[in-house]
């Protein structure tokens, strides 16, 4: 479970995240959506302790991420927006590298890599160097290294960005499978249909604060709108027009 309490972050005079609080539950997919510049990526970086918040707390399975960042990171698997593979390493070497950084011993690591190869259908390129990989292949390697240590909590930043239909579908199926295993999944996406299809809970960020959050049915009731895209546009435009916040716990 990922619990965010009163998180805030500024860069100089720019307040990027303002008093954000929400919970991403186990066995659920939580969608974090918002316009460009809303603070989604900064939120991700705060949660995985790459950035330090000015205020607030992040709890990963009850572990305070600021007090014990290493323990928190062990329970997190993160697919960042920029995949940034090492072009001279093979896909297998990527998974092995990140697995070793998580302290997974040799034989067990090999077994997990083989499992991931099968799950992510990487057989064709697992022993090829990453130079020249397609977007889909890059995403699979990046996802593989986020999952190699079998984290309970998984964060994905734009997981289907630039992918073809078949690969996007495969990613969605995988996320449903991980949810069924009881894992906590937090993802961001600009594709409203995807969020609507996957998310059990939605958090809408705008201007660094939460403007609306809840299950899709709750959001429809609250706004009187049926389509998630309409809900999103209404919430973010309202937030842009008025200074009042509509944050919930």
């Amino acid at each position: 479970m990922i619990e965010i309490r009163g998180l805030a972050k500024s860069f100089g005079d720019l307040r990027v995240v303002r008093d954000v609080s929400f919970v991403a539950q186990d066995g659920e997919i939580t969608g974090l959506i918002g316009p460009n510049g809303a603070g989604k990526t900064t939120m991700f970086r705060l949660i995985c302790t790459v950035l330090r918040p000015d205020r607030g707390t992040t709890l990963i399975d009850g572990i305070d991420a600021q007090r014990d960042s290493l323990a928190a990171r062990r329970r997190l698997g993160v697919l960042p927006d920029i995949r940034a593979l090492y072009t001279r390493l093979t896909a297998r070497e990527h998974l092995r590298y990140f697995g070793e950084l998580h302290g997974i011993p040799g034989k067990e690591l090999d077994r997990r890599i083989d499992q991931l190869v099968e799950t992510l259908r990487m057989e064709d390129f697992i022993d090829r160097r990453a130079k020249g990989f397609s977007r889909g292949q890059q995403m699979k390697v990046a996802l593989g290294r986020a999952l190699v240590h079998q984290p309970h909590n998984i964060m994905l930043d734009e997981p289907t960005n630039g992918l073809d239909v078949a690969t996007s579908r495969a990613v969605r199926d995988l996320l449903r499978q991980l949810r069924a295993e009881g894992r906590c999944i937090l993802l961001t996406s600009h594709i409203m249909q995807e969020v609507a299809a996957l998310a059990d809970r939605i958090v809408i960020l705008s201007g660094g604060h939460i403007v609306l959050q809840g299950a899709p049915a709750e959001l429809r009731r609250a706004t009187g709108l049926a389509d998630l895209e309409e809900i999103f546009m209404a919430a973010t435009q309202e937030a842009a027009a008025e200074p009042a916040l509509a944050a919930g716990n």
Binding site: L70, R83, Y86, R88, G103
Partner: protein
């Protein structure tokens, strides 16, 4: 520790597959020995030839001083009439020097013979040949004066005022020694360039590509990641150093001894001692590169400063090669300077002071420690992970 080893292993595998890293660490260092070897061969060889072969004396109006011409021939020189403009031929290097005698014989034999000697000190062969012909002038002067004293009933021994016995106790002779003392600055230069591509790529390069962030999401401390990367930079620097030292050793044994002008080139053991003096600098160089990559905002900016960095110690070394200074303890406290002095002594087969070595090592390691602490602290900054 295992995180450090994991990162180190990955960086080694990654960069051993990188053509540029191999080029910079294994091939570029060979340029120094190749260049120095060619200099030894051509410069040293031509000076040997100028020094040992028969002296050619290009002369204008030789018929006006037949006695002098006969003396040159008696001394084994080859007198040749100079055809063409003497200045042009000397400046152009066609002749080492030109001797211009008066058009008519000296009307008063007791009066000094006016001789014009045109030389070109910008050429090594001219310097050597001029030195030889001036020695012949001294011999002719002494010979002629001796005859005149005998003619006057006096002993030629009256000319002997001093009896100087010069004893050359150096191991080397000629300009080869200057070229030999250029080896240390080449080594210093390699220390600061051998691992630079790896240093740049693993720090500024990864930051620009956005690869630092996914790496730091793992349960590793930043100093562990940096230590692993530093290890890889150190290994590539050592590879460059080894490559260059082996090439120097080969060069010193392939270039003809006549060109080297050395009594004996430095042995393999001596060269190993030279390398051991350099070792503290390997870590200093890597730490400096890490620091520069931390404070610069982009890979291009880091490349600019890292490109200039080797010039600082390298130039100091070049100056020392041409104007050697005594190895004083105070100089040992300056990293790279102390090592350059020590290496110069070792390649010249001179004795070195253990105290000097100790001071140099301690000073360098202290500076390295400070740079590493500063570098690691800078990498704790938040923004360091992200492209600018």
């Amino acid at each position: 520790m295992s995180a450090i080893l994991t990162v180190f292993k990955k960086e080694m595998v990654d960069h051993l597959r990188d053509g540029r890293s191999i080029l910079v660490s294994m091939i570029y260092p060979l340029m120094g020995p190749l260049l120095l070897g060619m200099m030894f061969f051509f410069v040293g060889g031509s000076m040997r030839l100028s020094d040992t072969g028969p002296l050619v004396v290009p002369i204008v109006n030789g018929e006006s001083a037949p006695d002098l011409v006969r003396f040159f021939a008696k001394e084994g020189a080859r007198v040749e009439p100079l055809l063409g403009d003497a200045r042009t031929l000397v400046i152009g290097g066609r002749v080492a020097f030109a001797l211009i005698l008066p058009e008519r014989p000296n009307p008063t034999p007791q009066k000094a013979l006016a001789v014009r000697l045109l030389t070109n000190p910008s050429r090594f062969d001219s310097i050597v040949a001029t030195s030889r012909v001036v020695q012949m002038f001294d011999a002719y002067r002494r010979d002629t004066l001796g005859e005149r004293l005998r003619g006057a009933g006096l002993s030629p021994d009256m000319m002997d005022v001093l009896d100087v016995a010069q004893e050359n106790i150096g191991r080397s002779a000629g300009p080869a020694i200057i070229l030999l003392t250029m080896i240390p600055p080449f080594l210093i230069f390699t220390l600061f360039t051998g691992g630079v591509h790896v240093a740049l790529d693993t720090t500024s390069g990864e930051r620009e590509r956005g690869a630092f962030e996914p790496l730091m999401i793992n349960p590793v401390r930043r100093y562990e990641v940096l230590a692993g990367k530093l290890g890889a930079v150190i290994v590539f620097t050592l590879m460059a150093l080894a490559s260059q030292v082996v090439a120097f050793w080969v060069m010193l044994h392939v270039v003809p001894e006549a060109s080297l002008g050395l009594v004996a080139p430095p042995s393999a053991l001596r060269l190993l001692l030279v390398v051991s003096v350099c070792l503290p600098l390997v870590v200093l160089a890597a730490a400096t590169q890490l620091l520069i990559s931390a404070v610069t905002r982009s890979m291009k900016e880091a490349q600019t400063y890292l490109g200039l960095l080797p010039l600082v110690p390298g130039l100091a070394g070049m100056v020392l090669a041409l104007a050697p200074v005594r190895a004083q303890p105070l100089l040992a406290t300056i990293p790279t300077f102390g090592q350059t002095l020590l290496m110069g002594q070792l390649v010249r087969n001179e004795a070195v002071s253990v105290v000097f070595i100790g001071i140099t090592a301690v000073a360098t390691l202290t500076a390295t420690g400070l740079l590493l602490v500063l570098g690691f602290r800078l990498y704790e900054r938040e923004g360091i992970l992200f492209p600018q």
